[in-house]
């Protein structure tokens, strides 16, 4: 096991060296998106087999894979080729990641380069002593079963070398756009969500909040008993103006992955980070959290963080992240432990344990140590509605994958609450039709 130098990690917090790696076609697109949305303070590395796509990337550093193997063409959707191509460029990848402390690997799984190379890049980054966070997207269902299987295999493989794996389903993000919108919009909506998630990740890593959220909290969110990586759901909202607290939350929940906040109800843990300029008041934070509390279930733990960033000015932003276990239907696709693509790695002695706790903060500094260096500047803030910042993590609870539907509680009768029910064919017609027929009303 590689151990991280704790002193270095804490001292360098202010100026954490982050490398964001975009691997394969989808990864590179995310990088482009990140640049468009404006991200600073991280080095961007595009890695691809396709020379043409690479040339079009805006990343500062580019690595072409498989110069001799694929000769500048793509991996053709074959993970085997992707892996071999990546192996050719091991030296270059090492060099680029040499002084990074946090590597965020963005990859779209299911294709050749991404699925094949992800594991190798993650492993190299780890060997350099960096924390590795993998932000992976799974293909749309319509891309076919074969790609879904490749993606699941690659996900299981990369998970072993990643400290954290955040896995997004393109399907969920595709819901973002209206059914009538073009396919391009669907993909771009997915990219945008990933880009926001990556930015939020970088922000979480770099910020030193009044109430800090770190990777340990992230790990809590992602901890599930099941082997497969849980699916992450992410919402980000930013707003200014008089009603910025509510607006920011509304925008975060409006992210289709959040399903208007309904999804939060099923998640055992929800991570919420609130950031704002120095003008952010405690009242606003309270308003926001109260509004959010209406969306989460009673059992849900809220991991809450606040950060003040003067450069945000009048703006206020909310980041919501939660994870749910993978859809059972998808899990079934996952093959046995033996992964087809296995790079020759002898480093790991007990891969089994790593799988059992995919997201355990193995080498990370303890949360208390992290925050101890930066005591809250303002004592008034101490009575913020902290639900859990250092509370012991409860044993992971099995949560059933929940179908999207509202509960048919008696409240659903509304004004006909006390009137004689109208029963036809065993259905109470006073309950709204769209509820009884499970029509999805976004």
């Amino acid at each position: 096991m590689i151990s991280l130098d704790r002193n270095r990690a804490t001292a360098a917090r202010q100026d954490l060296r982050i490398a964001i790696v975009g691997l394969g076609g989808a990864g590179s697109t995310v990088l482009d998106r990140l640049v468009l949305d404006g991200l600073s303070g991280a080095s961007l590395v595009a890695i691809n087999t396709d020379a043409q796509a690479l040339a079009g990337s805006v990343a500062a550093e580019k690595i072409q894979l498989g110069r001799s193997l694929t000769r500048g063409l793509g991996a053709g959707g074959d993970p085997e080729i992707g892996f071999l191509a990546a192996k050719e460029a091991v030296g270059e990848i090492r060099a680029v990641l040499a002084d990074a402390e946090l590597v965020i690997l963005c990859v779209g799984l299911g294709g050749g380069t991404g699925s094949g190379g992800a594991r190798l890049v993650a492993e190299l980054a780890r060997e350099q002593g960096a924390k590795v966070v993998v932000v992976a997207t799974l293909p749309f269902t319509f891309e076919g079963r074969r790609r879904a299987e490749q993606a699941e295999e690659a996900l299981a493989a990369v998970q072993r070398d990643a400290d954290l794996t955040m896995c997004f389903e393109n399907d969920g993000m595709g819901d973002a756009v209206a059914p009538l919108a073009g396919i391009q919009d669907a993909f771009s909506a997915a990219d945008q969500t990933i880009s926001q998630a990556v930015r939020a990740l970088a922000g979480l890593a770099r910020r030193r909040g009044l109430m800090h959220l770190g990777f340990d909290e992230l790990a809590t969110i992602l901890r599930f008993p099941s082997e497969a990586a849980p699916r992450c759901y992410f919402g980000f909202g930013e707003a200014d103006g008089a009603n910025r607290a509510n607006d920011a939350l509304a925008r975060a929940l409006k992210n289709p992955m959040m399903d208007k906040g309904r999804l939060l109800d099923g998640a055992p843990n929800v991570l919420v980070n609130v950031a704002g300029g120095s003008g952010m008041t405690i009242n606003e934070v309270q308003i926001l959290m109260e509004a959010l509390n209406r969306h989460v279930g009673e059992e849900t733990r809220i991991l809450f963080g606040v950060a003040v960033e003067p450069q945000m000015g009048e703006k206020m932003s909310v980041t919501i992240l939660c994870a749910l276990p993978a859809d059972p239907a998808v899990v079934r696709l996952q093959p046995a432990r033996e992964i087809a693509i296995r790079p020759a790695s002898t480093r790991r002695a007990e891969p089994e344990s790593a799988i059992e706790e995919p997201a355990a903060p193995r080498d990370f500094p303890e949360p208390t140590e992290e925050t101890a260096d930066f005591p809250p500047a303002d004592d008034e803030l101490e009575h913020l509605p902290v639900v859990a910042s250092a509370a012991p993590v409860p044993p992971p609870k099995r949560t059933e994958a929940k179908q999207e539907q509202m509960l048919l509680d008696p409240v659903a009768r509304g004004r006909f609450e006390r009137s004689e029910p109208t029963i036809v064919d065993g259905q109470d017609l006073d309950i709204p039709t769209f509820l009884r027929r499970n029509v999805k009303v976004k």
Binding site: V177, A178, P179, L180, A181, N243, N246, V411, A412, R413, G414, R415, F416, S419, E420, T422, V424, L429, D430, P432, T433, F434, L435, R437, V439, V441, K442
Partner: protein, 405 residues
């Protein structure tokens, strides 16, 4: 103005109480003199649930009508509805007494009585028994059997009955306020009077009156009333659905339904938002138009599907050549006719009372169909008495004439 020709129709609806004052002129036409309305409270699904409050609202509507028409309202024809009202078709039969072969007028009453006798549940009372067809010795297509020779007279009747106490509740509530109740009429029977003309009745038509708390329907085939009934779902349910679905108060949902709602899904542009403004202009919330329409669509579709099932069960769907007439306040939702056409696969149109004269343009609103229909229904009863007496005398004379010669 003589009070004898004044007819007043009163409908106690779930969302509004409507009182129409009409003048029956000597030439048989009806002139609407005034319409009084009051928002209804204390009524759910077409039935009174709060006696006191409903009484107050009825008073408001009556006073409004009296002011507008300058008439003292002494008696009303009362329209009723509710899930308890049921209907069926029944055939009555009598044997003509041995000593004569000819069918006479008094036999009608006997055959009607025989049709009524059957199987109305003990707590129920008869509201209407409406004649459909006569049969003489098993031969159908007899329009008027009087004077025909035969041994056996049969007649099909459409019987409408309801729970006695519930009907009495409505009557009592009106009587407490003041006016007498001359007759109780099932709402769709009244609205069909003004919504359908004779031609449409002959062709076969379905009238759907979507009110606040109930959706009443009536089917005419071959010019006779074949089926009628009441679904206790109406505009209120749509409002309730919107309120629950969008998590907004009922009053706001009602406004949204009237102002923005449509029963057609997939027609609005993606991302078309409706901004909900507070009275203070504060905390504007945005609602996707498609979402609102989906909620409305689901409910309206279900209403039509339930109706279709009822009609299918009676086997009447394939006889409706004139199509569907939609009326009542709920029919004002845009796209509702299109949806009805889709589900029933036959033409549907919006209608309102048009078979009356007077200051009609103000009342050409589907909300008033039932109340105006009550007047038409009452008017149809009125002249019959003197005329039938006269014709009876005439017939007696002619009988005497034939007997003499």
């Amino acid at each position: 103005m003589s009070n004898e020709h004044i007819i007043v129709g009163l409908e106690i609806g779930t969302s509004q109480i409507c009182c129409v004052v009409g003048d029956l002129r000597s030439d048989g036409t009806i002139r609407i003199i005034g319409v009084g309305t009051a928002p209804s409270r204390g009524v759910r699904k077409g039935e009174i649930v709060d006696f006191e409050t409903a009484g107050t609202c009825i008073r408001e509507a009556l006073v409004d009508a009296e002011e507008k028409s300058d008439v003292m309202i002494g008696a009303v024809y009362l329209g009723v509805s509710g899930a308890h009202i049921e209907s069926f078709n029944n055939r009555g039969a009598i044997n003509i007494p041995e000593q004569r072969d000819e069918i006479r007028e008094e036999d009608f009453e006997d055959v009607q009585a025989s049709a009524r006798e059957v199987s109305i549940p003990s707590g129920n009372s008869l509201l209407h028994s409406i004649l459909q067809h006569y049969y003489v010795d098993g031969q159908d297509g007899v329009l008027n059997p009087v004077g025909l020779l035969g041994r056996k007279l049969e007649a099909d009747f459409h019987i409408i009955h309801g729970v006695t106490y519930r009907i009495q509740n409505s009557i009592r509530c009106v009587k407490e306020v003041g006016p007498e109740v001359l007759e109780v009429v099932f709402n769709p029977v009244a609205s069909a009077q003004v919504v359908l003309d004779q031609n449409q009745k002959s062709l076969g038509a379905l009238v759907v009156d979507i009110g606040g708390g109930t959706t009443d329907f009536i089917v005419y085939v071959d010019g006779v009333l074949k089926q009628s009934g009441c679904l206790p779902i109406g505009g209120d349910h749509i409002t309730n659905d919107i309120s629950l679905g969008l998590r907004i108060p009922m009053a706001r949902a009602e406004k949204l339904k009237i102002g923005e709602g449509s029963a057609i899904v997939g027609a609005s542009a993606p991302g078309d938002m409706i901004v909900l403004k507070d009275e203070t202009g504060f905390a504007g919330r945005e609602i996707e138009r498609e979402m609102l329409n989906t909620i409305v669509h689901c409910r309206v579709r279900e209403i039509f599907e339930l109706l279709k099932r009822r009609l299918d069960a009676a086997g009447n769907v394939s006889y409706l050549a004139a199509g569907i007439m939609l009326t009542g306040g709920g029919s004002q939702i845009p796209g509702i006719a299109q949806l009805a056409e889709e589900i029933f696969a036959m033409p549907a149109q919006l209608t309102f009372a048009h078979a009356v004269s007077g200051a009609t343009s103000a009342f050409e609103n589907p909300r008033y169909s039932t109340a105006i229909g009550l007047i038409k229904y009452a008017a149809a009863l009125q002249p019959e008495r003197p005329k039938s007496l006269f014709s009876r005398v005439l017939r007696k004379l002619s009988f005497l004439w034939s007997w003499i010669f």
